[in-house]
């Protein structure tokens, strides 16, 4: 176990060090999003999701019915249909077909399913030659590597690398441009097509109603592989079954749109039974492969994976994939979806370490045409991995023993605040360009710029903020100058006790112990509007970090403590505001997921969930522009927090522009930077697990910020503030980063 984790970490570092890999993947990612937007919009995407839901099986019973229907229909048209339970069976069946036909040479069109069962190795060990005919697959085969992307197998290689591989294996010149390389492929593989005994393909869809296989390519290789050799073997996973021929209309539209940003691929081949070719013979064998798919179909949580059409949208938009590529972030199937599929197709152990690479930013779910909730399933997979293998020792100890005991945890943080002093170095002082934003608002803060010895990697590229001398809970209870605030009563601290209405505040660990000024800013902004704020003292860590590590037991315990803490505020209703989108998301989504076994807790949890809101959402929804918008205010750029932007199912959840509008209403001029919604790389403990990867994402973020030409950066998440603030400090940047709430308070002179 520790060996695997260490190896993964080393692979990550090696991938990051590989020049050009990340650059080319990122360039692709940028052009992908732009080009895809030209062929499919949000409306078409939700229509496509709807249709995919109705086209594909929902559970095991349906998938078995569809398989039966397909088999009957295809057999009626003369195809020979077999079922393979696992990889070994499928390989053996294919070998036997070769043997029966005395076949020695096979030509294969691209099939990820054949990669999944390691078919080439199996056949080659038994004296059969298989040539890949998809250009990318052929390159990868010649290079003796494996595909790093489901749609573009050789995306990790440069043209020079390809030319070198061709030179070594085929004796061609070492300096060939892309056109020439493609010509080499055409000429060499044409000979293979003309002499192959058997063509092997996968299928993008298998129509249950008619027994039809649909195969999509751009190169035309599947067309040749199913035309010239007299025998055709199609290896088809159960997940490829769709109900009706008419379902192909949607699939053939959405697949190229999402896979390659095309309205249509060059070739779609739809085969129903064998058709005679130029050579005598003519057989069609179809092997329906289970290999874990039926278990998947029986699993209430994961059966939605059957809707995956292998378009690789999720890889194309994944910030982690862009940094390390599919060889590190994946097994046979790569990226987030890959780690989920791997768990079922190759076993939980194979997936255990790959899934840990997901930072939980949630971007993949936005783009998935099958509507698969990859981030939520990744958390569920992590839970199962932890259930099976346990937490790493130190993390397990911290979570179970310390964090979930509020007094002990908070006591420890207070002690840390005193002990850190030798490491802390001083802040930047007040902002000369924007003097109205006082020294209390953030960047004057203290940072830990270097940690000693083995801990140094955590402050490489990023300073860590020092733990506040006095946590929010103490400052709020002892603060003066808050309108009408009173001392603590019944364990709650409040401001504005004279106000006509009041709201509760859930501070979360980072605001409470690192950034108390954010909570104070909210109290001031609310007070300015005549709204009181209450901070129940018994609240504790929301539980999200525990859930992200797969420790559901600790997460549940923390959630219950927070439910109790907020039930005693007022009459147990009314909004609970947070200044941290991750806390908000967990408090609003956690109860339904974690407490469903216990009827009473579940009900209490759902009440809490219904009350939680992001503070900026509340302000934007509740309040009209408090000041006169001015077009002369300071320029500010805005960074979108992953958990505010995506997968956030809070009622009244803001679109990304919500905080931007609020900032404008308070007199700021918002200037967009490049890729404002790209993850900053914090992702909670992720930045500690994969510091090098997190650092790379941060460096890119800092570049985007520097390019925006602003003095101020607003964020809505204290995690982003910690990460980006630390990066700016380390880079010696003059840009000041503040929470949106701090900026609102500052421009009202509060």
């Amino acid at each position: 176990m520790p060996d695997n984790r260490l190896r993964l970490s080393q692979e990550v570092e090696a991938a990051l060090a590989r020049a050009g890999l990340s650059t080319s993947l990122r360039q692709f990612a940028a052009s992908y999003v732009e080009n895809r937007g030209k062929v499919i919009d949000g409306e078409m995407l939700s229509e496509a999701r709807e249709q995919l839901r109705s086209a594909k099986a929902r559970d095991r019973r349906e998938i078995e019915e569809m398989a039966q229907q397909f088999e009957t229909a295809a057999a009626a048209r003369g195809a020979k249909v077999f079922r393979a339970g696992n990889a070994q069976e499928a390989c053996q069946m294919i070998y036997e077909i070769f043997h029966e036909h005395g076949a020695k040479l096979g030509v294969k069109a691209k099939s990820m399913t054949s990669e999944e069962i390691f078919l080439n190795d199996y056949l080659q060990e038994r004296g059969i030659t298989i040539w890949e005919s998809d250009l990318g697959e052929w390159i990868v085969q010649l290079a003796e590597e494996r595909p790093s992307h489901m749609v573009m197998p050789a995306i990790h290689m440069t043209r020079q690398e390809v030319a070198k591989v061709f030179a070594q294996r085929l004796g061609t010149s070492e300096v060939l441009d892309i056109d020439q390389l493609v010509k080499v492929a055409r000429t060499r593989l044409r000979q293979v097509f003309l002499t192959a005994d058997i063509g092997i393909t996968g299928a993008n869809a298998a129509v249950a109603e008619t027994g039809t296989l649909a195969i999509v390519t751009n190169e035309g290789n599947a067309r040749l592989a199913t035309t010239i050799p007299p025998v055709h073997i199609a290896l088809v996973g159960y997940d490829k079954l769709i109900r009706r021929l008419s379902d192909l209309g949607n699939l053939l539209g959405v697949l190229p749109a999402c896979a390659t940003a095309q309205t249509a691929t060059s070739y779609v081949t739809m085969i129903t039974g064998p058709s005679p070719g130029p050579l005598p013979g003519g057989e069609l064998y179809i092997i329906l492969l289970d290999n874990g798919r039926l278990d998947l179909a029986s699993d209430g949580e994961f059966s939605q994976l059957l809707r995956c059409i292998k378009c690789a949208s999720c890889l194309n938009v994944c910030p982690i994939y862009q940094q390390v590529g599919g060889h590190v972030f994946g097994h046979v199937y790569s990226g987030g979806i890959g780690s989920l599929l791997t768990a079922f197709l190759h076993g939980l152990t194979s997936a255990a370490h790959i899934q840990s690479l997901c930072s939980g930013c949630g971007r993949c779910a936005e783009f998935c045409p099958a509507g698969i909730d990859i981030p939520a399933l990744t958390l569920e997979l992590r839970r199962r991995v932890v259930e099976e293998e346990g937490l790493p020792l130190l993390q397990g100890f911290t979570l179970a023993r310390i964090v979930s005991d509020r007094r002990r945890f908070h006591g420890l943080l207070r002690a840390a605040s005193r002990l850190q002093s030798p490491l802390v170095s001083g802040g930047k002082g007040s902002d000369k360009k924007n003097p109205e934003i006082g020294p209390d608002q953030g960047s004057s803060r203290l940072y830990i710029r270097h940690l000693p010895l083995f801990l140094s990697k955590y402050t490489k590229g990023r300073s860590l903020p020092a733990i506040a001398a006095k946590p929010f809970r103490d400052r709020f209870s002892g603060a003066s100058g808050l309108p009408g605030r009173s001392g603590p009563s019944q364990g709650h601290h409040r401001n504005g006790s004279e106000a006509s209405r009041s709201v509760a505040f859930y501070s979360g660990c980072l605001v409470d112990f690192v950034y108390p000024e954010i909570g104070l800013a909210l109290a001031k902004v609310l007070g300015d509007m005549g709204i009181g704020m209450v901070h129940p003292e018994d609240q504790t860590c929301c539980g999200a970090p525990a859930q992200y590590l797969g420790d559901y037991e600790s997460a549940t315990r923390l959630l219950k403590q927070n439910i109790t803490a907020f039930e005693s505020v007022g009459d147990g209703s009314g909004p609970i505001l947070t200044a941290c989108p991750t806390c908000a998301r967990f408090l609003s989504q956690g109860p339904a997921r974690l407490l469903s076994d216990d009827h009473r807790w579940h009900r209490r949890g759902l009440l809490l969930a219904g009350r939680v809101m992001n503070a900026c959402t509340y302000l934007a929804d509740t309040v009209r522009a408090p000041g006169t918008p001015t077009c002369k205010g300071p320029y500010v750029a805005y960074h979108d927090a992953c958990h505010l932007k995506t997968g956030d199912r809070l009622a009244g959840d803001p679109p990304p522009s919500h905080s931007r509008r609020l900032l404008q209403a308070y007199g700021y001029r918002v200037k967009e930077m490049n890729r404002p919604d790209q993850c900053c790389g914090f992702a909670g403990s992720y930045s500690l697990k994969f510091p090098a990867l997190s650092r790379r994402l941060l460096e890119e973020k800092i570049d985007c910020i520097s390019g925006a030409g602003v003095d101020l950066l607003a964020v809505d998440c204290p995690g982003c503030l910690l990460q980006i603030g630390g990066g700016l400090d380390k880079a010696g940047s003059t840009v000041r980063i503040l929470h949106t709430l701090q900026l609102l308070a500052a421009n009202r002179g509060l």
Binding site: L194, R223, P278
Partner: protein, 213 residues
């Protein structure tokens, strides 16, 4: 017989890299083929055997031979077939929305003629033009069983597998020339062609005639 879907089809097909002609009557069909192949100095043209009589009836074969081409059938896997610079097939129809052509390719000769040579000339009967995939598949389903080998072709063969650079002509043709012809004798007899008949009334109602090319 309406041309109302043609403009949309031509736009989509050319965006996918095809060259599109419209041909009214036999004269324009022959002229379009001649124009499309004017850069070549003769050579073999692969035409499926089953279509030889049709191209002869409309006078296309004679015109091609006058231009120096010899029309041959891609029987078996002769070197002739492998080396021919052009393949010509009469397909069943086209999909306006995506710019795709479709054909019942159960006859392997039509597959070889449209895949092996570097240039593919596809003659599409105007009556086979449908609006979108939905109409196409509804038409096929209506006809009962789909053909054994149904193919959609959109633009030339392409790849972006090396550094995502678009490169044309990998395993299939590097040039796709589509000629939409209103000659009634070209209308296919295959099941795929039925889709067009099912679609006709519907698409005319939906689009009107103002989009005629």
């Amino acid at each position: 017989m309406g041309w109302h879907l043609f403009a949309g089809f031509a736009l989509a097909a050319e965006a996918a890299g095809a060259t599109v002609f419209s041909a009214r009557g036999a004269g324009e069909l022959i002229e379009s083929v001649a124009t499309a192949l004017s850069d070549l100095r003769g050579g073999d043209i692969l035409v499926p055997s089953s279509q030889h009589s049709v191209i002869e009836d409309v006078g296309l074969r004679q015109a091609l031979e006058a231009q120096g081409f010899s029309v041959i059938a891609p029987r078996g896997l002769s070197t002739h077939a492998e080396k021919a610079p052009v393949g010509l097939t009469i397909v069943d129809g086209a999909v306006a929305e995506t710019g795709s052509i479709f054909h019942d390719a159960t006859d392997h000769e039509s597959r070889l003629a449209s895949t092996l040579p570097p240039i593919h000339v596809a003659v599409v009967p105007l009556s086979g033009l449908v609006r979108d995939y939905g109409t196409l598949f509804a038409g096929i389903s209506e006809g009962g069983q789909p053909p054994s080998y149904l193919a959609l072709i959109t633009g030339p063969s392409r790849t972006a597998d090396i550094e995502r650079v678009l490169t044309i002509g990998v395993h299939g043709p590097s040039e796709l020339i589509v000629i939409v012809s209103d000659l009634p004798s070209l209308t296919g007899v295959s099941k795929a062609a039925k889709a067009s008949r099912a679609d006709k009334g519907q698409s005319e109602r939906a689009l009107g005639d103002d989009t005629s090319a």
